[in-house]
Symmetry: C2
Subunit: 175 residues, 2 copies
């Protein structure tokens, strides 16, 4: 199953006669390639279970934050209500998620994993760990930790002020 998404790395490498110019030197382009590569592998692993990365993220967050309100879940994961509602409908229809009415607030729901949802998450966590290890192996010893630290710094706001801290942390990590 080859999904052809913008910048699919498999396609990129299949045309060695085409010069990609500056693209492979740009972090944004390479992040997109790497993200597509990992998501495609995720899809290949979970496609039979009908689970997308966002499903896993929602189940994981509900597991860690029982009773979370719908709006909070959306905010924490950056999912718009218009996308979250059908996603939760889907997870509820599959018996993984329960929406409880909130006393005194008709417009809000408290979200919980069901027993079945918790069991499903446990299975998914094991598969996700395997998927993660498979890619970590490509990076060699310490590579995954190095990558996570770099990605964390890239997404940090106000990182100018924290640059020294971040650099000293890395220096310690890679030492």
């Amino acid at each position: 199953v080859t999904r052809q998404t913008p910048g699919s790395p498999a396609r990129t490498r299949s045309g060695p006669d085409i010069d990609l110019g500056l693209l492979p030197e740009l972090m944004g382009y390479m992040l997109r390639q790497a993200q597509i590569t990992m998501f495609q592998d995720f899809h290949a692993t979970f496609t039979e279970m009908g689970i997308r990365p966002v499903h896993f993220a929602v189940l994981e967050v509900l597991h860690r934050n029982p009773g979370l309100r719908q709006a909070q879940a959306g905010e924490a994961l950056g999912i718009k209500a218009a996308n979250l509602v059908p996603l939760l409908n889907d997870l509820q229809a599959r018996g993984f998620v329960r929406r409880d009415a909130v006393a005194g607030d008709r417009r809000s729901y408290a979200l919980h994993l069901t027993v079945e949802g918790a069991a499903q998450l446990k299975r998914l966590q094991a598969l996700v760990a395997t998927h993660e290890r498979r890619f970590a192996a490509r990076l060699g010893p310490g590579g995954r930790e190095q990558l996570l630290a770099l990605l964390q710094r890239l997404t940090s706001e106000g990182s100018e002020g924290q640059a020294h801290l971040a650099m000293s942390l890395t220096a310690r990590r890679t030492a």
Copy 2:
């Protein structure tokens, strides 16, 4: 302009009371966060010009490979024909790209940048370089090169067989 996309990092950090569980330890999740962060900055930089990352990628590849066929461009960048055709229509309408008929092949077009397209690409390249440097600064000295090398290894196929090579390359790079 805050686009709320799944896993938007700004949202993630705005809810410090919500436990994201395993997610920040997963490369796929963090790659997505970092990619969204960089693409949002890209959008903020180029929104007035109506340029998305994929526009830049197409212009860059056409600049490097004049006369490229539409199918080749799609393959190199992993863009489906159904998405590439309107994209090229757009770039053609704006006077940046020219489609030339190919003798003996009615179904194919040879793609070229126009003079205006080349000038536009030059302006974009300068802006992209600024955008890249801004994020490189977050990573400290050598961080960008380290990140690009890790991403390259993550997207490499058959990396099991190349693991030793990759590791020795890194050892040299980080030494």
